[in-house]
């Protein structure tokens, strides 16, 4: 008797699972009219925001998958013969370029971007920028005061490499994270190759930890595990807004980064994809996104949200991404020697 109950339950579970496995059913085809599939590098909350707003405006349902930049680029490239997604949203241009080089991205020039600054548009028309952020230094004020008393907060990159701060700094691992690689390249391009390496060799032993994920330093600084960290300014700003005792410092000669959106070539819903890109660049979406993420919107018609750092007022270096890309292996190889 008991056995029949178990078998019945088992079958019930199996049957209810069938829809999960069904692919390409009629239902799906109908839904396609009203669907968009997004690989999202921007974080969970930001993805949801775009999704909700887009649906409100167009009635199209957004299904997003949020994962790390490298992983999503890898997926897009792997799937290029049978693309599963329509859009790659967020992350620096260098990643999108990787996918474009493999022929996995579609070209699209959105009319909304007509007024955008030149650096926000891909000459090859694969990607379009929709936000800007920059690298900065985050300080947990409480912990800093506990540990270092009245010592002034660092204002420049040089100030950061202070031997007193040993063990209290957190920087991501450049071999694992593009954020940290950007940081390393910034120092090399700012100071020149030799001086840059001197700086890094001075800083590296002071770092307490090199986590793999770019999102870690803001988190670790915010919760007080470390006093100082290198991260994107907008991420640090969000922690500050949440109520963590984080102070944000934008040192001179820092690097800016443009976050971009692109469409996958041969995706299931190409028309919806175009609409989405237009939407992301639109004033409404930009305003909402800027408010949530505290990044700087690229749509000139949108004002800077309170709490965000105005990148146009930042002293940015002229960053050569091509050089950064070409040098990658050499830089990482040297980095291994600097850091054990």
């Amino acid at each position: 008797m008991k056995r029949s109950i178990i078998i019945a339950a088992f079958l019930a579970v199996l049957v209810s699972a069938v829809p999960t496995f069904a692919k390409g059913s009629q239902e799906q085809q109908k839904a396609q009219e009203k669907e968009l599939l997004v690989y999202s590098i921007v974080n969970e909350a930001e993805s949801k925001l775009f999704g909700d707003l887009f649906k409100e405006e167009t009635g199209i349902t957004v299904n997003y998958l949020r994962a790390a930049s490298g992983e999503l680029v890898n997926r897009i490239i792997a799937e290029k013969d049978a693309p599963k997604a329509d859009i790659l949203l967020g992350g620096p241009a260098s990643f999108h370029i990787q996918a474009a080089d493999k022929g996995a991205l579609a070209t699209y020039e959105s009319p909304v971007a007509a007024q955008f600054p030149a650096y926000a548009k891909d000459p090859d028309r694969h990607w379009t920028g929709f936000y800007v952020t920059a690298l900065g230094i985050g300080v947990n004020e409480k912990r800093f005061k506990e540990k270092f008393g009245d010592t002034p907060l660092p204002k420049t990159w040089e100030d950061l490499a202070n031997p007193r701060f040993k063990g209290e700094i957190v920087v991501t691992d450049p071999a694992a994270s593009s954020t940290a690689y950007l940081f390393v390249q910034t120092q090399l391009q700012r100071l020149g190759w030799d001086a840059g390496w001197s700086y890094l060799e001075k800083l590296a032993p002071l770092v307490g930890q090199f986590p793999s994920s770019g999102g870690a330093p803001p988190q670790l600084v915010g919760s007080g595990e470390y006093s100082l960290g290198v991260a994107y300014v907008h991420a640090l700003a969000t922690y500050r807004e949440k109520g963590f005792p984080v102070k944000l410092i934008v040192p001179p000669q820092t690097a800016g980064e443009v976050g971009v959106v692109s469409a996958v070539k041969g995706g299931p819903n190409p028309d919806n994809a175009k609409r989405f890109i237009d939407f992301v660049l639109s004033q409404k979406a930009q305003t909402a996104f800027a408010k949530e993420s505290l990044t700087v919107p690229l749509n000139p018609a949108v004002a800077l949200p309170p709490g965000a750092v105005d990148v146009s007022s930042i002293d940015l270096i002229k960053y050569d991404s091509k050089l950064a890309g070409d040098q990658r292996d050499a830089v990482l190889a040297r980095w291994q020697k600097v850091v054990k």
């Binding site: 599939l37 790390a68 890898n74 071999a175 090199f210 793999s212 919760s223 054990k340």
Partner: protein, 541 residues
């Protein structure tokens, strides 16, 4: 078995073919494809650059250290709960299972909150400012994470000892410690070896703990993830994972050799009911064991308490006011939660069925290719789960079999990852069933497959249940096996937890993790109700 005879039992033939196809398609094929992914330049990089060499050294060091402590801890805890007869043994027994449920990420979060620089214990209680990041913290975290595996294996061995031999030894005048040293310990040696094997393999492929607590201390398992997620470099990612196969296979071979010798240790006929004497352990020793179990239990429970605290307070470690907002936010992830319970349930069923089929065909039926089936079933144990996920992502995207984006790929990846544990459990149980039982069933007119359902399965149902329970519990919290496989229609809560934590929404992450844990246990409770007490207890014996 001659073919003409075998065909008289079509169910068996079909089961055999399905099993072989399953193993070939979902174990051998993905692994082969993953092995072919790295380019020669990837291998050159891996074996020459200091970063990778350091990662390999670290992996080795952690494996040895954590395996020793996790195995010892699991054994001590199991001893306390069985022969030691510590008070509250029943409750203590549940604690390790609790630990299996938590997604690895959450364990690390809790750790930080308890033992980090601002940790409740280290900072609040002891006034220290200690960094737990690095190999020390990792060692502690891994020991705690994997002692449940050791506990499960050692406990069933200790419980099955029966007590007759120890009683005999005591009767001959041996003191308690001597009896332990010369009788109990050697008799449970095969179980210890097996526990060490599983712990070692788990440590080698552990991804969550090093991610969070490793700090500057890199290990290969995380490289599999970061190479792909940070750089989109599938080749390096696969290479890092494949390198891990080598030591895993060595550990395997060692354990096989040890178990071969362990055949001698099979206590004939004692399907022991754990009848130990009440004084197997002296009162001071019992007290020490109880204290030990207590400390461990408190620590494990503290982690859960901390997660609950994080879920219910405003801002993690900053603002402690009570709020239900995070739970509210977390409960919006209904689809993720549903998937995180349904998929492991399916995977666990698949795993239990495959374990039974494999063990039965290999051990009982001496089916053709039995050694190959045996190897293929155990092989996933040697492969880090992140590599399993990567291999599946590579192999089932496009031709010849496109499963990407479906729930099937997730279910199968999970089932394959946990197959070795279930297989071992069922094999061990089958070994205790005398061959004459099979013969008797046949003589009474039951075909092999009928005998399997009528006779064999009821006898080994405990092991099958254990396979199910283990796969389900671990499956709800798994991240490493599935992180590369989730897709639009198949989101999983564990990945969402990772994403939330990454963007700093720790409280939301903790809230979602809490919901998941509670539901997973509710699911197990439901199974217990359905399947009856005996079935369920058998899993924990």
């Amino acid at each position: 078995m001659r073919l003409s005879r075998a065909l008289r039992d079509p169910f068996l033939v079909v089961a055999y073919l399905v099993l072989v196809a399953f193993l070939g398609l979902f174990v051998v094929y993905p692994l082969a494809r993953a092995a072919l992914t790295p380019r020669p330049s990837d291998w050159a990089k891996l074996l020459s650059s200091p970063r990778w060499i350091a990662a390999m050294e670290h992996t080795l060091a952690m494996t040895v250290l954590s395996t020793v402590t996790a195995t010892a801890m699991g054994y001590a805890y199991a001893y306390g709960v069985t022969k030691g007869r510590v008070p509250g043994a029943r409750l203590f027994s549940l604690v390790p299972f609790l630990y299996l449920v938590s997604p690895p990420f959450v364990g690390g979060l809790a750790f930080t909150l308890l033992l980090g620089r601002k940790g409740i214990v280290t900072h609040g209680l002891l006034g220290l400012d200690v960094s737990i990041y690095g190999w020390g913290g990792l060692w502690l975290a891994q020991t705690l994470s994997f002692f449940p595996i050791s506990f499960i294996i050692c406990r069933s061995a200790l419980a099955n000892l029966g007590g007759a031999l120890e009683t005999a030894a005591r009767g001959m005048g041996a003191g308690r410690f001597r009896v332990f040293r010369t009788v109990s310990l050697p008799l449970t040696a095969p179980a210890i070896a097996q526990a060490a094997l599983f712990c070692a393999l788990s440590v080698m492929s552990d991804f969550g703990n090093p991610m969070l607590i490793g700090g500057r201390y890199r290990v290969l398992a995380t490289e599999v993830y970061t190479q792909l997620s940070g750089w989109a470099d599938a080749g390096m990612s696969a290479a890092a994972g494949l390198i891990l196969l080598a030591p895993a296979l060595v550990v395997f071979a060692l354990q096989r050799a040890a178990t071969g010798a362990g055949e001698r240790y099979a206590t004939v006929g004692s399907r022991g009911r754990g009848i130990g004497r009440d004084d197997d352990v002296s009162p001071p020793a019992r007290l020490a064991l109880a204290a030990f179990c207590g400390i461990v239990a408190v620590f494990v429970l503290a982690q859960f308490a901390v997660i609950a605290y994080g879920a219910l307070t405003r801002i993690w470690s900053v603002d402690g006011t009570f709020t239900l907002a995070h739970l509210g936010a977390a409960s919006k992830y209904g689809r993720e939660i549903k998937d995180s319970l349904a998929f492991p349930a399916l995977a666990a069923s698949l795993c239990a069925a495959a374990s039974l089929a494999s063990a039965f065909l290999v051990q009982r039926c001496r089916a053709p290719l039995a050694p190959v089936i045996d190897l293929a079933t155990i092989l996933p144990a040697a492969i880090p789960h992140t590599l399993v996920g990567l291999a599946f992502a590579i192999s089932f995207n496009g031709k010849p079999l496109d499963l990407a984006g479906s729930g099937a790929i997730l279910v199968v990846a999970m089932a394959v990852s946990y197959l070795p544990f279930g297989y071992r459990a069922v094999m061990a149980a089958l070994a205790q069933v005398k061959p004459s039982i099979d013969d008797a069933a046949a003589a009474l007119g039951a075909s092999r497959s009928r005998a399997l359902f009528d006779v064999i399965l009821p006898i080994v149902r405990g092991a099958v249940a254990a396979a199910f329970v283990f796969a389900f519990i671990v499956g709800t919290g798994t991240m490493s096996a599935v992180i590369f496989l989730v897709s639009f229609k198949t989101p999983l809560a564990s990945v969402t937890i990772l994403n939330l934590a990454e963007m700093g929404s720790w409280s939301d992450a903790a809230a979602l993790a809490s919901i998941l844990c509670v539901l997973a246990f509710a699911g197990l409770a439901a199974v217990r109700l359905l399947a009856g007490r005996r079935f369920f207890q058998a899993a924990f014996r």
